[in-house]
Symmetry: C2
Subunit: 131 residues, 2 copies
């Protein structure tokens, strides 16, 4: 099932920064600024094992994402979906996102830290937008 309209896909590929909401144990939203990529309709983010947002998603896979245009903040996309923490190639994703967001290669960090990278794959079930 395809859920993201073409203009939403194009907007997500711009790229703009995403705000990821996960649910804390007390039910409140935890919010983080993230790079975001797409794999078809899935949203892809890279982070590290043990981070608060990862633990939240492991307990409650519901995720909401908001992306707004920094040039024109009335343009936005809000997506809700279900997140999986996967062992896909996080380094490859970071490299791709670094080139997209910074125009440069990703600078390799501490090798131990690099091994802690994980991928958050979010499958959308709802999209609301104004573009």
């Amino acid at each position: 099932m395809t859920i993201l309209p073409d203009d939403v896909r194009a907007f997500l590929d711009a790229p703009e920064f995403a705000v990821l909401a996960t649910t804390e144990p007390d039910g409140r939203a935890q919010l983080s600024v993230m790079w975001v990529g797409r794999d078809g309709d899935d949203l892809m983010m890279a982070t590290k094992r043990g981070r608060r947002k990862v633990r939240n998603l492991q307990r409650d896979p519901n995720a909401s994402i908001l992306v707004y245009s920094r040039a024109k903040p009335t343009r936005y996309v809000e997506i809700r979906g279900t997140a999986k923490i996967t062992d896909e190639d996080a380094r490859a994703l970071v490299d791709r996102l670094a080139r997209s967001y910074t125009g440069r290669e990703h600078t390799l960090g501490d090798p131990d830290e690099e091994r802690d990278r994980v991928v958050i794959r979010i499958t959308p079930d709802r999209v609301r937008y104004q573009l």
Copy 2:
């Protein structure tokens, strides 16, 4: 009690756009891009009665807000707190925020719509930031 450090106050006054998270009946986060002002440590937003975010906050007053720098998105402030929908002067708040965000006066909308404005006043209890 003062909870917002001076550099957080200055950052919030920049102004940058805020992403407001409210909780939907199904427990998921609803995210909106908002103008935000301060009244001391309280965060102030203007919206309209009956909006989804207002109904969510009336049912569950927990609110999370993330503000990031559009020029340098690694700079951010995340605030959590308790929201009240108040009948304070929403028009005055909109005028103040419009001048702050757009440099211009607020353009008066339909008078019936103007009467529907309400203020969201959020009292923080937790702040996390990197500036």
